[in-house]
Amino acid sequence: MNKSLLPFFSGSALVICFLVTCTSAVSAADPKPKDILLTTMQQELQRATTELGKLTPAPYFLSYEVRDQSYAIAVGGDGVLLSSMRARRRAADVITHVGTPALDNSHENSRSSAIHSGALATDDDPDAIARELWRMTYQGYRNAAKAYLNVKTQTAVNAKEEDTSADFSQEKSQVHLDYKEPVSPPDQAKLESLARKYSGRFRNYPFIYSSAVVISCEAGQTHLVNSEGTRVVYPSQLVRLAIQAQTRADDGMDLVRVETFQADSIAKLPGEKEISARIDKMASDLKALRAATVAEPFDGPALLSGRAAAVFFHEVLGHRLEGQRQRGETEGRTFAKKIGEKVLPDFLTVSDDPTQRNLGATDLSGWYEYDDEGLPAQRVDLIQNGVLSNYLLARMPIAGFSHSNGHGRSQPGFIPVGRQGNLIVSSSRTVADSELRKQLLEEVKKKNKPYGLYFEDIEGGFTLTQSRAPQAFQILPVMVWKVYADGRPDELVRGVDIVGTPLTAMNGILMTGDTTAVFDGVCGAESGSVPVAAVAPAMLFSEIEVQKRGHMLNRPPILPPPDLPAAGRGQGGQQ
């Protein structure tokens, strides 16, 4: 499986397509809101448990998760509105486990037989909701029952698997009912005006060929009930502003800068002044990158900024500590059987803490109260002083770990697996951030290299964890500087990717800075896209390997851009 972390979309084609429902205003007249959805889900689950329980094979576990999501999205480009949409949907996932926890239909490759998904009525109409849940339940049961029979035969026929853990963990039931009347996302016209305003600022920079500003607000509520008695209801809100600008160097290399901001309300986003300054910085970075030379392959000392180190850890370490990667013949299992062993330098400690809502003034996007299996979020200490102690676990047990630790996450339509929330790297060997640069130069001299590299910012990355693929990763840096040993000024370079294999790369970390940085993003893997954050200090590596990035050889446009009418310029920019 190929996992990637991107702060924003990739590529230039931008088509946003949801078939979902517009949010209608909610009457505030009823002082005691009734949770009709919950009542209906419980009744229907009860009926299904009883009725399907009479069959052979019978399900031993059923759950309904319904995510009611209202969206408002506006996309701007070049100062005009590209798309504007307001929608609502109720995505339902029915999970069915047939057999016994020790061996059930979700075994190994037939995990997907445990989920059946669809959309429910967005009106609080109990009959319509019940009817659709009933249809999804018996169809889900059919898939699960069929898969279970196959699993039983395969297990009998195949050799014994290495990890003989059960297929589904036993957990305590949870009750947490925090029902709120659904909230409508903010005024659409306001979003549209922000999308126009911020994207219009790029009109000041004719060398930027295309830009897009996406502002999306999501107000939602999750309902989860299961046959063990769990009833969990909680609201969620997320506002995200993503800005992308693109240009092209003379040799045809496309250059992209992305900035994202997120908060739980529009009011908490940075103000216009700060965002405008960031847009101007994106433009000046791109201008500098156009003029920058293409870096050569390099293997030597490097300094990663906090943000770059955070993405590095998310890709290189975080994904490999997901529980399901330790089990199954198709997984690379880099860290399986390494509990109690030293996997990182001993001054580094890594945890994943979805219960942490923010770090200073920055919201952490990997925050959640309950995971998508209805279990409370937990802080998990993954690596303590360099020694591996735990994994990110959903309800799929692995050798030595028979319970979830609240990291079963998914996007609607996907079966939850162990995923990262807020991955936090801390260090006991720190120097002042300003000192790190000196240390880098010393390391460069020690290694007798002409320069080291400073990775200021990254776009994202991806990693391969499957056994048939090389256990490699690739990080996509965007602002990379050569730091010369002879005292020449730093030189911006472009077109390199950090590559390598995880254990080697991470054991070359020498020391870290004394402040931490946050990378908020969206992570895609087999259970879909989930919001995550990664937190890390800047890090000095004794050795980082970079390779040249392949790129298209498209020339810059032949004709100059069309003339901008004088009245069309944005406010306060510079060329």
């Binding site: 084609a13 931008l14 088509v15 949801f18 078939l19 979902v20 429902t21 517009c22 009744q43 229907e44 009926r47 299904a48 009725e51 399907l52 069959l55 701007g76 480009g77 070049d78 100062g79 005009v80 509105l81 590209l82 798309s83 504007s84 949409m85 307001r86 929608a87 609502r88 949907r89 959309a119 429910l120 009525a121 967005t122 009106d123 109409d125 109990p126 009959d127 319509a128 909701i129 019940a130 009817r131 659709e132 009933w134 249809r135 018996y138 049961y141 059919r142 126009r196 009109r203 060929y209 295309s210 498209n554 020339r555 446009p557 032949i558 004709l559 851009p561 069309p562 009418p565 069309g568």
Partner: protein
């Protein structure tokens, strides 16, 4: 309420035979519209200046902008499941290098698509057009090289031009617009989808509404400047059930019109939906077709239009075969030019220039196609003989020019030959009574106890309402679980023995809105057999009880 803007205003319609491009002044109609203005301005700039060292200048450029405002709504079981309003604008740019004989329209040289702003901002549109033109030109240069290389490997039996010459057209029509009051129909759809309350055995009742207003802008380097608009208003109700033996049964009712005022009244829509669901109840109780049957069958209503659409409509499109292939077109009529493809009492035309047939509106009406070519009536099959094809600007053997049928399914797709209003007529029409009498007569001649009438079909011409008609007393019996065994172009050519006089009209609000017009068709021999399909189990447990 949804309405065409200013439909009463006299339509500005000018068809210029002169070459407009090259004149510096914008056509007046274009200068009032920021979208057309941006397109024409950027076209002039590209035409005058676009040139890459070592690559020939483009000989042809076109810009197509499709502006679609859509309102979609879905309900099931009496409640909303989805609702969406979306306004999008797409740009499609084609740059051709080479010449009309051999050009770059190949692989990546077939055009470039971008999402454009919905605001009427001339600068932002020009900016998008500028970049798209640049990329399309570079892709065209590469595509021409690739095409030339591919051609070197092939022997070309019939050299055919890549692109047809066409007269420039100037046509600026009023813009069409979707009125927010369109959403008033959501209530009706919700009510219709609540019909399951009257019949607990209905497994699903889904209603869909799709209202779209599309404005199309087209400018090319030959001087064509076109702005046209059209709307589609579609209402759909679909239901499914399972018979006692598990056989799945589906029915649907739809209305597709081009004008909001032509939608049925809510009462009429409900009544129609109720009839369709009522028929589903009858189907559930109907006997299953057990024995194979070979004999006469009468196709009525949409059963006739479906068979015409699938077996004729698909095959009269003059689609150029892949590079180097010697056939004239693709499809079943690829080598049937001037051969008999229908009985000699049947003729088929495609006439997008008409907007109604026997008083009923046709969705396949348009004035100018997506290549900016004026629509014309095309005679396709004359007295049973194939005499023409629908054509866009890509010529095929013996057909060097477009006949105004180049249409694009979606804003991102290239245009190609497609249907407008496909009309099948008989030179010896029979009244419905006479047709039925002829059916019975054929049955008697063959000593059959019954024959079949099919009144409506689903996907792939699968019969949905199929009746046995008994020869002794003429009574009809609904049956289910049948399929037609050998329905193909050969059957159409050899086995149709009569056609009716009153036409059924089917308006198809697909990506390319078109209409099929056909009378009832009497086949003298066709196979009816039991459908080869698994029967699903009935649900493992009963549906939830309904509240009040």
């Amino acid at each position: 309420m949804i309405r065409r803007l200013e439909t009463l205003v006299v339509v500005i319609l000018c068809l210029f035979a002169c070459r407009l491009m090259g004149e510096d002044a914008l056509p007046k109609e274009a200068s009032d519209d920021p979208v057309l203005k941006a397109m024409v301005t950027e076209m002039q700039r590209s035409k005058a200046q676009l040139k890459l060292d070592g690559v020939s200048v483009p000989y042809y450029i076109d810009y197509r902008i499709t502006d679609t405002d859509a309102y979609l709504y879905q309900a099931a079981f009496g409640a909303t499941t989805a609702e969406l309003r979306n306004h999008m604008r797409y740009i499609r740019v084609v740059v051709r290098v080479g010449d009309y004989k051999q050009d770059s329209f190949y692989q990546n040289g077939q055009g470039l698509v971008e999402v454009a702003g919905v605001d009427d901002d001339e600068f932002a549109l020009r900016h998008k057009l500028w970049l798209a033109t640049d990329q399309a030109y570079k892709a065209a240069a590469e595509a021409l090289t690739a095409k030339n290389a591919a051609l070197k490997q092939l022997t070309i039996e019939y050299p055919i031009d890549d692109f047809a010459h066409a007269e420039p057209v100037l046509l600026v029509k009023p813009l069409v617009k979707l009125d927010p009051a369109a959403s008033s129909w959501s209530k009706v759809l919700k009510e219709v989808s609540a019909f399951y309350r009257n019949d607990p055995q209905l497994e699903s009742v889904d209603t869909d509404l799709s209202f779209t207003a599309t404005n199309r802008y087209f400018v090319n380097s030959e001087g064509t400047v076109v702005r046209t608009g059209g709307s589609i208003y579609l209402l759909l109700a679909a239901a499914s059930t399972q018979a006692g033996d598990g056989m799945r049964l589906d029915r649907s009712a739809d209305f597709a019109v081009g004008d909001f005022k032509d939608l049925p009244t809510p009462a009429k829509f409900k009544q129609h939906a109720e009839e369709v669901m009522g028929a589903l109840r009858q189907l559930r109780d109907a006997p299953v077709v057990e024995e194979e049957y070979r004999g006469p069958i009468l196709f009525q209503g949409d059963a006739a239009t479906h068979v015409v659409a699938d077996l004729i409509g698909e095959n009269v499109l003059g689609r150029k075969p892949a590079l180097g292939q010697p056939l004239r077109t693709r499809g079943a009529f690829a080598s049937s030019y001037l051969s008999r493809v229908l009985p000699d009492f049947l003729s088929v035309d495609d006439d997008p220039t008409i907007s109604a047939w026997q008083g009923e509106q046709l969705l396949g009406n348009y004035e100018v196609d997506d290549d900016g070519v004026k629509a014309t009536k095309v005679s396709l099959i004359d007295k049973g003989k194939l005499v023409g094809y629908d054509l866009g600007r890509e010529p095929i053997r013996d057909f060097p020019a477009s006949n105004g049928h180049g249409r694009a399914p979606y804003p991102m797709n290239p245009s190609g030959p497609n249907l407008g209003n496909l009309i099948l007529r008989s030179s010896e029409p029979l009244s419905e009574d006479a047709l039925k009498a002829k059916l019975m007569e054929l049955c008697k001649q063959r000593d059959l106890a019954y024959c079949y009438v099919v009144k409506t079909t689903g996907p792939k011409n699968s019969p949905r309402l199929l009746y046995k008609v008994f020869v002794n007393d003429g009574h009809e019996q609904l049956v289910r679980g049948a399929t037609f065994g050998d329905l193909d172009t050969r059957t159409m050519r050899n086995d149709i023995v009569a056609a009716g006089e009153k036409a059924s009209i089917e308006n198809l609000p697909t990506a390319i809105p078109h209409s099929i017009v056909s009378p009832s068709l009497l086949f003298d021999e066709l196979e009816v057999k039991r459908v080869d399909q698994n029967k699903e189990k009935l649900p493992e447990y009963p549906a939830p009880q309904l509240g009040k």
